[in-house]
């Protein structure tokens, strides 16, 4: 299948290894990846902070750029949630009926990586090998907006060599919340404290998730405490093989 990658702005710039992992993983499963270089950002930060008018050009850009793609994948639950939950609303807000039509055409074709694999492509065993102790943090957007359910865990359970440890109190937010982490930095940090303690309680070497934004936050807390636990996007675990293991 031909799959178009929406890598997202922060993965592109801050976490390139995640995008690379998605490409390698999907190619390994026999798919062809296309990358449209004009892509930038889904507009989530602006939209959620209240700059909704400023999001409109990004909505327009996205639906025009991906108009002809049959399947679009993104390794970010929160960006997919932005597209799925808010693009239609944004089009309605500016009363642009043409935009609304395009949004309705494109949005159902956008998938978060784990839901694409499990629900659309019906794969659970991706042939990965990752011999580490791993705990999985279900990000709020994957859990409560996209409702990916246990898709990520089913994928992880089939990874050879992995030791999965359940994260205590896993459904509670890590405290990132985009600009919330800045505007309410102390409350956000207190939430992070709780999450970091839960991660440490597992004794895992690796904390993984479907969102690098949460992982950036959790990593920030772990590293500040000089804890050696690493954070890594689920795509990088699924892309890891015996021949080419993810570090």
């Amino acid at each position: 299948m031909q799959i178009s990658l929406f890598v997202t702005c922060y993965n592109d710039v801050l976490f390139p290894a995640t995008g690379i992992a998605v490409v390698k993983l999907l190619e390994r499963l026999g798919h062809t990846i296309i990358f449209r270089p004009q892509q930038t950002c889904c507009g989530q930060m602006h939209y959620n902070t209240g700059y909704q008018r400023e999001t409109i050009p990004l909505v327009r850009k996205f639906v025009e750029l991906f108009a002809d793609d049959e399947v679009i994948v993104s390794p970010s639950a929160s960006c997919v949630a932005m597209i799925r939950d808010h693009y239609e609303k944004a089009a309605l807000m500016v009363q642009d009926s043409q935009l609304l039509v395009k949004v309705k055409q494109v949005v159902p074709r956008v998938f978060e990586l784990t839901e694409l694999l499990v629900n659309k492509l019906a794969v659970e065993d991706v042939g990965a090998y990752y011999p580490h102790r791993v705990t999985y943090h279900p990000s709020c957007h994957s859990l409560r907006m996209l409702r990916v359910g246990d898709a990520p865990l089913r994928l992880l359970q089939r990874v050879a060599g992995i030791e999965l440890i359940e994260l205590p109190n896993r459904t509670e937010c890590c405290g990132f919340g985009g600009t919330f982490a800045i505007k309410n930095s102390q409350t956000s940090s207190a939430m992070l404290d709780d999450k970091v303690h839960c991660v440490l309680d597992t004794g895992a070497e690796i904390c993984t998730a479907g969102d690098n934004s949460c992982l950036m936050h959790i990593y920030g807390g772990l590293h500040r405490r000089k804890e050696p636990v690493k954070t890594i996007h689920i795509a990088q675990i699924l892309a890891s093989t015996r021949e080419e293991p993810t570090a």
Partner: protein, 486 residues
């Protein structure tokens, strides 16, 4: 019209108030313990119902329908209360409601009232108003009594004393209740002893005070009945023993028919206290000779509600049945407790109700007091999409700020406009990325960023940040494409 929501107009911003709460470890422990217990009970009670999701859907539909025809249902309710011998008063705002209540009490002989737990009375600050008029209000709900005696602010819409533990309660009782007169010599922090002390203290009030005061959980349009649900029996006493009963309720408390209770009397107790049913469900209609109060007044309170109703995007906030489930599940509330919200309505629901009732003139930091994690929406028994309304209110605030020159030149707005420009084309994004990599140079120490300037210091106060890697994803992609071609 002057809308007052407790003292919210004078409350500090959420981030400032939260700071004080976050360093109070006792408060945070109390909040965490209490919310954990209630939440576990709530999850059991909702989980055992196979039709829980249908109940939520039904509650949502009934409330939406009622809001749509609220004018008609309010008039129907008024007519039916009047027919049953009650008196209906309409109050535009907090001041008017206080005056109406004050006038009713002035016509009575007593100078004291006994109160059932009433959110709207906190909203209009009735107790302050009455005390200034020489009338003594007695809270009879145990938690409200603790808050009143301790001169505390309520921190939870269902469990207002949630932030206070039993040792603290014992201290408050020892100071404020004449224990010796009640025959109590040695009060410990044993819950049973504390409850017994409160019971003895209140019993005398129940038997002597002849004006009762309540709010309402529901008001039924087609019968004119009013509904109060509670756990302690204090409500039943206040509603039946006094000669005069005054009920204050927000206009959004109406449900069309008696039958609609079938939904809410299941979803409310399960969500609020994790009980299948409230121990006391009081439903009364007007007055009945020789049975209960002989005089019954209902005050229908607007206090900003009609302006919320006029707002298509935010009006669902009025669907709230005040169960508090969104507070108990909220990770922000877990850290700060309720007082930081600066309102009688705390937590996620407070963050959409308080600013809206005040027409966004105050409490503008509240819509930002959320990580938008969505847990509140998941538990709401009437399916209020709180995160959506929070985002909408943020938009209203930003659009409002952008109308002024000062707002346009605010650092955040400038940064957001710059980012919007950067994202307008991939070329600009690549340029900005190159600039950022250059700029981050001096900030990176030992391969990590641990101090950022300006508003970004909010991040690095407690968190490190990995620097931007040398090559972006698109660098890798284009390199690979090039290698393929060769």
């Amino acid at each position: 019209m002057s809308v007052h929501i407790g003292n919210a107009e004078n409350a500090p911003s959420f981030p400032r108030a939260a700071r004080a709460a976050l360093i109070n470890t006792q408060l945070r422990t109390n909040v965490r313990n209490a919310t954990n217990i209630i939440q576990a009970k709530r999850n059991n009670m909702t989980g055992e119902l196979p039709d829980w999701e249908e109940l939520r859907e039904a509650g949502h539909a009934i409330k939406n329908h009622t809001l749509k025809y609220l004018d008609l249902y309010l008039e129907q309710f008024e007519a039916n209360v009047t027919r049953a011998g009650g008196m209906v008063h309409w109050a535009t705002d907090a001041d008017e409601a206080n005056q109406i209540i004050g006038n009713i009490i002035a016509d009575c002989t007593g100078k004291e009232i006994i109160k059932v737990k009433t959110m709207t009375s906190n909203e209009i600050r009735l107790n302050d108003y009455l005390e200034n008029s020489g009338i003594t209000p007695h809270e009879t709900d145990l938690a409200d009594l603790i808050v009143q005696l301790g001169n505390e602010d309520p921190s939870h819409i269902v469990v207002p004393a949630l932030h206070i533990n039993r040792t603290q309660i014992r201290d408050i009782f020892q100071k404020k209740i004449p224990l010796h007169e009640l025959g109590i010599d040695n009060l410990t922090d044993d819950p049973q002893q504390l409850a017994e002390a409160a019971r003895l203290y209140l019993r005398h009030k129940f038997l002597t005070v002849d004006i009762g005061f309540s709010g309402a959980n529901f008001a039924i349009a087609d019968t004119g009945a009013v509904v109060v649900v509670e756990s302690e029996g204090n409500g039943r006493m206040c509603l039946t023993l006094p000669d005069v009963l005054i009920t204050l309720l927000g206009i959004e408390k109406i449900v069309p028919t008696f039958r609609d209770l079938e939904v809410f009397l299941q979803s409310l107790p399960r969500s609020a206290t994790g009980e299948r049913m409230n121990p006391y469900n009081s439903i009364w209609t007007g007055v009945t000779p020789a049975d209960g109060p002989s005089e019954f007044h209902v005050i229908l309170l607007d206090n900003g509600r009609t302006s919320v109703l006029a707002n298509g995007e935010g009006r669902e906030a009025l669907n709230c049945i005040r169960c508090g489930a969104c507070l108990n599940v909220c990770p922000v509330y877990h850290q700060t407790g309720g007082i930081a919200y600066g309102s009688v309505y705390q937590g996620p629901i407070g963050a959409i109700v308080t600013p809206q009732l005040q027409n966004l003139e105050h409490s503008r930091s509240l819509p930002y007091a959320s990580s938008l994690c969505g847990a509140c929406y998941d538990v709401c028994p009437v399916k209020i999409n709180i995160p959506e309304i929070l985002i909408f209110l943020r938009g209203e605030i930003i659009r409002d700020e952008q109308r002024t020159l000062l707002g346009k030149f605010q650092l955040e707005n400038i940064a957001m406009q710059a980012m919007a420009l950067v994202f307008s084309s991939s070329g600009l994004m690549t340029t900005a990325e190159a600039l950022a990599k250059f700029a981050q140079g001096p900030l990176v120490h030992d391969g990590i960023i641990n101090r950022l300037p300006g508003m970004l210091s909010g991040w690095t106060n407690s968190r490190d940040l990995a620097p931007m890697p040398r090559k972006s994803f698109r660098d890798w992609w284009f390199q690979r494409e090039k290698d393929k071609d060769q």
